[in-house]
Subunit: 457 residues, 2 copies
């Protein structure tokens, strides 16, 4: 297969890139109602490419939100089935003024593709489609394959959960594979074996029933902005640990061996700081940056607003103050328990002079993938074959809530084989993806299918 | 004079009100560039009325912003001169949807005039114009009078300071009178003898150079929103005192006798809480609400914003976090010293992982008026004459920076004789002013002129 694969890639590389560019030109921003038609166009584009790649069934399935694309090629019901998960929607491109090239006109500079979605997840997910095209065209597909590609990953995956629960038979598979994570470096392949969970809240504090003159009332009345800062600050102790009773109760504490493995991955603190232009890091005392961002829970203010935010000065005591806060969870923190702990705590610490409302926006479980199963072994062998290096098991600080849902509803583990890099600026202006990474993905996937099928026998 | 005054008011009351209504119909919003012509119209309206009231000279003086109206009637250079200060501009009417009547169509309900500017300061200032008309018409003007009416009080009084500094001879006077403050109640007259000063700042904290994915980076990098809350909260101690070294060094501490006088004014804590719908008060330990809001400095967040503030959830670590904060100062805190203290303190407490910028937006001195001078005595006697009650000396939590400037540049004290009430909703929707208060002002002013001139001899 090796020779066939190399020839196939060499012959079709420019066509693959051109197809990806067409895909990237569709502004499929799931959060923006103005892009509803673009969402459908992206789904149809994918439908077309999945047919060409050899799928027997390709469906665009309507949901209450954006459609799901489902496809399958069943070659023998007695063979294993691999389910590919991905998403065709992208983050909003704003702030547009920070883009150096147009976000929806892919531009190649030094073999790097710049565009919204170049990495997350159009570029990564498209490697799966093109790998299938290779396997069907050259008679190298060793097992059955299904695709489940959603259009709402960047907007909370509102409808795929219901779809999964209602279509367990249709989605039946032995393993799930997703290309939506990153490697350590192009010469340091890695497999993501841990994801953090999430609980996201919105807080609304109300003090006086209207904005007040800060001269007349200042000093005598509850200012909800002052009080919100006090409350949010109290959620951290002097070591930057989360200061909420019960929050750490179920946290899985890494063993010394696991900590060693996590910290042995190549990592430069200076490069890390330079890359985001910070003078110093900041975080929980007693843990390294890699531990803080992957194996430890975190609590962040994602947004805060209150009072006068225009030009110049307005001497007002705000009536209301708002914050969006979220916590990243680790195994075995349960989002439902953490949700209750945090809501109760916020209500407890609010002084009686203000009214507090806390809304739970969404959440998801953390995820751990075993490194001793055959899916990890197959993925590891595939990476070793094409990168000539054993991949390092790593954890990601982000969340892909659907992965925990797959395990819960379908009883199937997901193997996270991503080709992107942390520095690809996903969710930011100037998102990009290396042509090397795109091609390497297409090259590696068929080996995973081959080794997995062999090991499964 | 008493009989003449009563007859004059009775005969002209409806005309006075009609003139005030015409004045209130002009939307002289100084902050809104679209109202530039309305500002000029309001100045010309005033010019006309000051001529009718008997002034010999009435000038509309252009500034770099909105014009100043100056007027005078000099009857004898050997007699005392009273300078009347006021402003013809008003606050923006927004939010419009909360007004029960049109803000620029004065509407009388139960003898209360509802309109933007009804109290602050058109209604109050117009009492001075009509009182002069009485004094000149009935030959009761006992001294010289000058008017200085600005059009930028609600927008920072940017240009009147320069005008005062450059026109000290023209503005020469023995006392300044302003009707731009409030009384305790219609049956509890009071004279404002203290105003708080102000220092207003804008803070900008920068963490990472762009918004980051909170999953990938959460827990490992400085989140400027988290840090801003921590910094702002640290500005208060556990007793809600301002926790900035040096901040209280120059605060004038009230004597026991002054505290008694301040707290003896009629005040219902239950009414206070009900009026702004708060469940409890909040403030510096060891002081009453009246002390906290007038005689003690206060520190408030007037605005705060960072990160994602739209609908739903966005898992972002903000790059920047902003706050507008201001402190109300009391005698003898110096805004220039407090400004330096606060800016240095904020820079000191910012962790090295963020970059901080602090901008000083504006400020002004606190003001104290002596209660043993003849201007206070004359004002007190005038109130007693028309309200049949000795007025209570009170303090206001707000600032009228021009009053401190008059003292500094002209060496003249200002007596604050206001007829409004705290509940008149100035700066808010449904601003209003009682017809009783309007007429009582016109009635009381001539007595001030009479007693002041007599005492001055």
């Amino acid at each position: 297969m090796e020779k066939q694969l190399q020839n196939f890639i060499q012959e079709n590389k420019q066509r693959f890139l051109n197809e990806l560019f067409d895909f990237l030109r569709i502004p499929s921003v799931s959060a923006n109602p103005e892009n509803t038609q673009d969402m459908l166009n992206a789904a149809q584009f994918l439908q077309d490419k999945l047919k060409i790649a050899g799928c027997d069934i390709v469906e665009i399935i309507q949901t209450e939100g954006h459609p799901i694309v489902y496809a399958e090629k069943i070659i023998d019901v007695n063979l294993p089935t691999v389910l590919v998960y991905g998403h065709y929607d992208v983050q909003p491109a704003e702030p547009l003024e920070l883009w150096k090239t147009p976000p929806f006109e892919p531009t190649v500079i030094n073999d790097i593709i710049y565009a919204r979605g170049a990495d997350d997840d159009k570029g990564q997910m498209f490697t799966q489609v093109k790998a299938l095209e290779f396997m069907t065209t050259t008679n190298n597909l060793p097992c059955n394959i299904k695709f489940l590609i959603e259009g709402e990953e960047e907007a909370g995956s509102s409808n795929i959960g219901t779809f999964v629960k209602q279509n367990k038979e249709k989605l039946k598979a032995d393993v799930i594979i997703a290309s939506d994570t990153s490697m350590i470096a192009n010469d340091v392949p890695s497999i993501n074996v841990g994801l953090r969970g999430l609980c996201y809240f919105q807080i609304e504090l109300t003090g006086p029933d209207r904005d007040l003159h800060s001269g007349v009332y200042g000093g005598g009345v509850p200012n909800p902005a002052n009080i919100l800062c006090k409350m949010l600050n109290s959620l951290f102790d002097e070591n930057n640990k989360v200061n909420i009773p019960g929050f750490y109760d179920d946290v899985y504490n890494l063993t010394e061996k696991e900590r060693e493995a996590l910290n042995s991955a190549p990592f430069s603190l200076e490069d890390y700081k330079d890359e985001i232009s910070i003078k110093n890091i900041y975080g929980e005392k007693g843990y390294t940056t890699e531990e803080r961002t992957t194996a430890r829970p975190a609590l962040d203010i994602n947004g805060i607003w209150s009072g006068y935010t225009g030009e110049g000065a307005k001497t007002v005591i705000p009536s209301k103050a708002y914050a969006k806060i979220s916590t990243r969870l680790v195994p075995f923190q349960n989002p439902q328990i953490i949700k209750d702990i945090i809501i109760n705590h916020l209500k407890n610490i609010a002084p009686d002079s203000v009214h507090i409302d806390v809304e739970y926006l969404h959440g998801g479980d953390a995820y751990m993938s075993p490194t001793d199963g055959i899916e990890f072994q197959a993925a590891s062998m595939a990476f070793e074959k094409t990168f000539n290096k054993k991949p390092i098991p790593t954890r990601s600080g982000g969340s892909i809530p659907i992965v925990a849902l797959f395990e819960k509803e379908l009883g199937v583990k997901t193997i996270l084989m991503g080709w992107g890099l942390e520095s690809d600026a996903i969710h930011s202006p100037n998102e990009h993806f290396g042509i090397f990474n795109f091609i390497k993905g297409i090259e590696t996937i068929p080996y995973f299918f081959k080794y997995y099928t062999e090991l499964k026998k």
